[in-house]
């Protein structure tokens, strides 16, 4: 640590644009803070061969004691840290349970609408990272979670939702998922005429829409359309690689000069993939989704993107439901209404309170 006196000297020097001190003066000031060169050499690998190679050691006992002290401190800090983490986890688990009781949707759209009513802003496009678990019925659980999320977001007035699941298993069962979500929406909204129109698609897949019967009844009373996009890890870096391949191909054929490749071009191409599904209905608006999500909810113990498409995340706010306690075990992995709500409150810059 730099002592107060030296810090003042350096600050004064900086204010004068580095003119106050001469080179030699500055060096002498620094010298006392620099590590010993011999010490530096062995630092990258404290327990490996470099230590042994240095045979004529001056203070073997002191070095030994030092390393033992370090090891002891390491153990002690981790024990203390572990205890603190456990306590925090327990605390948050209790808080979460209380929130889960206080804030429960009861499958009532009105109640959900009431919960988001006071928020200053809502994300236009919500994105969520879900993980496929290892149990046998993992896929069914995942689909149910997606259906719940879809219902909550549609009730709270967010009609653009994208779901990221790493393996991409969801893309192979779009019709089944559509069916499950429709059932779930029915259990929230009741009669089909009140339900929002559901559009479900994945990049390079056609849109799967609700049956057209609901449209014919009355289009004016239900203008809402819920659009859900399914993403997987192949839509991330792989898509950028594919784009590069196509561009290289075009360039080799003289159709494009490399100077034309700008962030704007890449942005246009990448956005198109997630916003425009195959075989677009010409009567539909051009883009279904805002390409960049406003809020990314990570249902996991800590914030990691796990291969989420990188390009779209430029200005996305991120919120991790289990991120408050350095959770290590599966804390916060379940998709719960209170976690979803906390994310929305966080996005709006509001504090969640007990009592709604």
């Amino acid at each position: 640590m730099v002592s107060q006196r030296d810090r003042e000297i350096l600050r004064g020097d900086l204010r004068a644009r580095g003119t106050k001190l001469s080179i030699a003066e500055r060096e002498s000031l620094l010298k006392s803070y620099l590590p010993d060169p011999t010490e530096l050499g062995q630092k990258p690998s404290p327990q490996s061969t470099s230590e042994r190679r240095k045979t004529p050691r001056k203070t073997p006992v002191r070095t030994f004691l030092k390393s033992q002290t370090y090891y002891l401190t390491y153990a002690i800090t981790h024990i203390i840290f572990g205890i603190v983490v456990r306590l925090l986890q327990a605390y948050h688990a209790v808080i979460d349970r209380i929130f889960a009781i206080v804030y429960h949707h009861h499958r009532t759209p009105e109640l959900i609408r009431k919960d988001v009513k006071n928020l200053k802003r809502l994300p236009q496009h919500l994105s969520a990272i879900l993980t496929l678990r290892k149990e046998d019925d993992a896929l069914a659980v995942l689909m149910d979670e997606i259906a719940e999320l879809a219902a909550w977001s549609s009730c709270s007035g967010i009609c653009q939702l994208s779901i990221y699941e790493k393996s991409g298993v969801l893309k192979s069962c779009i019709p089944a998922l559509h069916q499950i979500i429709t059932t779930k929406l029915a259990s929230y909204y009741g009669t089909p005429s009140h339900q929002p129109n559901l559009q479900l698609y994945a990049p390079h897949h056609p849109v799967h829409r609700s049956a057209p019967i609901s449209k014919n009844i009355d289009t004016t009373t239900q203008p809402e359309t819920l659009t859900i996009l399914l993403l997987s890890s192949t839509d991330g870096r792989e898509t950028l690689v594919d784009l590069t391949k196509t561009l290289a191909d075009m360039s080799q054929n003289g159709k494009l000069s490399p100077e034309d490749i700008t962030p704007e071009l890449v942005d246009a191409e990448i956005s198109e993939i997630t916003t425009q599904p195959l075989s677009m209905d010409p009567t539909m608006p051009d883009t279904l989704l805002k390409p960049e999500p406003d809020l990314l909810l990570v249902f996991g113990p800590f914030l990691k993107l796990d291969g989420y498409p990188p390009w779209q995340l430029r200005l996305t706010e991120m919120y991790c439901t289990g991120g408050r306690s350095h959770g290590i075990i599966g804390d916060g992995e379940a998709v719960e209404y209170q976690g979803y709500m906390r994310g929305l409150w966080h996005f709006a810059g509001a504090q969640m309170r007990f009592g709604r």
């Binding site: 644009r17 370090y70 800090t77 840290f81 993980t131 950028l240 080799q252 490749i261 914030l303």
Partner: protein
């Protein structure tokens, strides 16, 4: 700062007293030494956010806030390098930041210039202790005098040890990705051969792709896998009966199928249609290119500004803003832990960094004990790129062969 002015002054006086200072320094040393006993992240990135807000809340000038931010950076760099972090990447200046007030931009540039030229003045000291400094970003957007200081500092430190400090100077990640794509495309649209080789290739397309692969391996030579297969092909070019020929043959088939596939669908590439159609007059010396199908994630990785650095382990953003703001989008990919801290950057110190490190160490040691656990990722023992590359190759081959 809570508490009365008098109290805070008293506290500052106490903290500045020699015994207290000594105690704090020893405690920090002890903690850093302790951190070293566990796994250590190889690559840490910081978004130094909150300098302006700190200045505003403390009633000092913005420029002064940036100066304090630089001190915080020096502090945290000391902690990182002492505890064994190999690469530190910092977000110093975004391309978007040029839109700020001219006064502030100029002051920031001036500070960068002063600091970088000071660094260059202490050349011999840096040689002994320093890390390599690399400046990532659109250097062409800098003023000439700043650029000169940048180049000088980068040159001075280029021979230093294995620690690296990446300064993202006028940088945005989208710009980086687009540049990487552009450079890759440029690489791939440079013809590798002219003239008579096309005639030879038209006789035997199998061997043409073979040559293309070899030359790519020679020119790029970045991954060990490629150089490995290169040596195989030169040694065992005559016989199909050595053990390497299986994989080799496989690659060739991939190439063969790829070229035929691409020429049959979209391409009007002369040299690839010649062996099939034969009659298309596209000129005898049309250039030969490397097949774009050989572009992988690794190819793009090698064209990023952060090439050659280990994958990002931890990304820390201060000031409580919870987005990436166009920083390290490509690098913050699979296993990077993103941490948003509710502290202004000038206040950032070991005390805020320590819990992050401890949490990371805890998770890593847990996942090593139980490799099947959720959220498992290898800290230092990264899955090697050659393995990934080879795997991609095999997968691509399967798909194409079907």
């Amino acid at each position: 700062m809570p508490g009365s002015l008098h109290m805070s002054r008293l506290r500052n006086w106490f903290l500045a007293s020699p015994p207290a200072e000594y105690a704090i320094t020893s405690l920090k040393e002890l903690l850093i030494g302790a951190l070293q006993q566990g796994p250590i992240p190889q690559h840490v990135a910081f978004v130094m956010d909150g300098n302006r807000r700190f200045a505003r809340s403390h009633g000092i000038e913005t420029v002064e806030g940036h100066n304090l931010g630089f001190e915080a950076l020096a502090r945290i760099l000391e902690v990182c390098y002492k505890s064994g972090v190999k690469v530190v990447t910092i977000y110093a200046f975004s391309i978007e930041n040029f839109k700020r007030s001219k006064f502030e931009v100029d002051a920031l540039m001036e500070m960068a210039k002063v600091k970088l030229s000071q660094m260059a003045q202490h050349g011999d000291l840096l040689d002994r202790y320093g890390a390599k400094v690399r400046v990532l970003g659109r250097l062409d957007m800098l003023k000439p005098d700043v650029l000169e200081a940048v180049n000088k500092a980068v040159d001075m430190t280029s021979r230093n040890g294995d620690r690296v400090l990446n300064i993202c100077f006028p940088y945005t990640s989208r710009d980086e990705i687009a540049s990487a794509i552009r450079e890759t495309v440029e690489d791939y649209s440079t013809p590798i051969q002219h003239g008579h080789s096309t005639a030879a290739a038209s006789r035997n397309p199998f061997s043409e792709s073979h040559i293309a692969h070899n030359i790519r391996a020679q020119t790029h030579g970045s991954t060990t896998h490629e150089s490995h297969s290169d040596s195989e092909s030169t040694s065992g070019s005559s016989g199909q009966d050595d053990d390497a020929s299986v994989q080799h043959d496989h690659l060739d088939r991939v190439y063969g199928s790829m070229s035929s596939c691409s020429s049959s669908t979209t391409l009007h590439l002369g040299n690839q249609q010649d062996p099939k159609g034969g009659s298309i007059a596209t000129g005898a010396d049309s250039p030969v290119y490397i097949s774009p199908e050989t572009i992988t994630r690794q190819t793009l990785n090698d064209h990023m500004l952060t090439k050659g650095t280990p994958p990002l382990d931890i990304l820390i953003r201060t000031s409580g803003v919870e987005r990436l703001s166009d920083f390290m989008l490509w690098q913050t990919h699979e296993n990077t832990e993103i941490v948003f801290l509710n502290v202004m950057w000038p206040e950032f110190d070991l005390w805020h960094f320590l819990p992050v490190m401890l949490g990371w160490q805890r998770r890593i040691s847990k996942s090593r004990q139980d490799p099947n656990a959720e959220g498992n990722f290898a800290g230092e023992a990264k899955p090697s790129d050659e393995g990934l590359d080879a795997m991609l190759w095999r997968q691509g081959g399967k798909v194409k062969d079907i």
